[in-house]
Amino acid sequence: MPEGDKSFESLALPHLEALFRVARRLTRSDHEAEDLVQDTILRAYKAFRTFEMREFGIRPWLLRILNNVFLTWLAREKKSPRLGVSETMESALVSPTVIPVDLDLDHLDEEVKNAIDELAPEFRMVVVLWATGEFSYQEIAGILSVPIGTVMSRLHRGRNQLAGALEEYSRRNRIAGRTEE
């Protein structure tokens, strides 16, 4: 195996788990996530000569390719939803995210997962990258090639939707609890 190929494999393959995690939530399917990860690695391999090791390593670069591949898939499938609202900071930050204090967030992972799945792809990608806890807003902006204001705007909307879905879930459970009583 040529030296460059070895170098690519040793750099890229340790990130398969992380790529799969993101791909799984983006595609909502195990099978498609595997395809997306493989497509990402193959494209990264082809473009490896253009890669410059930055201080954060290869993972953001791979995630950037994964995001582009995913968007290409969406465009091909003509499933890409267009954001119908302004994405400016002003429009996003009108209402703050307020999480009901009585929500038991330690036991609502399944509901959070469902709520993430319900997000539009553009919001989902930002929320998934945010959820990994590995990247700052600036780094997410770099991965997605969008301004940091767009990241904050999408994250704000995404987070509000999660909070709204959880609140709704909690409200339904309370009603169900009362009915049982």
Binding site: E17, Q38, N68, T72, V112, W130, G133, R159
Partner: protein, 280 residues
Amino acid sequence: MTCRDAQLHLPLVADREPVSAIAPDVLAHVAECGTCLAQVRSLERLRASARRAISVAAPAHLSGRVRSALASQRRSAPHTLRWVVRVGAVAAAVMLALLGGSSLLQPEVRELVPLRAAQLVSVHDLCAVSNPHDPRRVGRGDPSLVTRKLHRDYGFVACVPNLSRDGFRLDGLCTCVQAGDARTFHAHYRPELLGTPIVSVFSIQGSAKFTDAPLRRGSHFGPRVYRYASIAGASFASWTEDSGTYAVVARIPMDDLIRLADGITVGDARSPESAGSIAR
């Protein structure tokens, strides 16, 4: 600062964004305000919950699958290089001929894949009986998805057209045709209507030379030149395009078969992005 003013900035605090991004009076307010601090803690727990929600282990076979695809990709790269060398060699020979006379001109280097058209017809008949089989596990669903998978996994633009408008659905894909080292794929289609014969579309990597039958040459509506013949009662037509050879076989009249082939486009699976533009 009031709680209302601070609320918009609480996610930045919860997400541990750089302090320079957060107004100093927000931090001071959160340190003193129990309500806002509780909201920050809730936001932190929401993120922790989201992190747990996206945690999923990659399947054990993923690493092997990706390594195998990379190896396949590497194998196809030297093939491109060989073509570059060949083209260079031909160009050099032409230059030498122009400079030193035609006696120096070497015959064109071409790698032909020897094949028998009758073999394709046999595979067509055999797969019609033993169908369905899908040893490559590329699926039977959307033909464009299958084509993309083949291109991605094998680096070869196989032809798996969508024939639904002609009344056929993709029923499987096999590699029953043996053609030396050349990759071959046989896509077979079932008719939507009973009583209609099945259709096969073969993709062979490289230029195939059919050694067994005197094939006629001709075109139909478009620029594509077909080599065609009636073999064992089946209509057979093949053409070379884009460094691959493609053939269709069905037990239908030759005119109908060529009309069907004319509607097939090769190369739909190619990725529109160049390597350099992928990570832009």
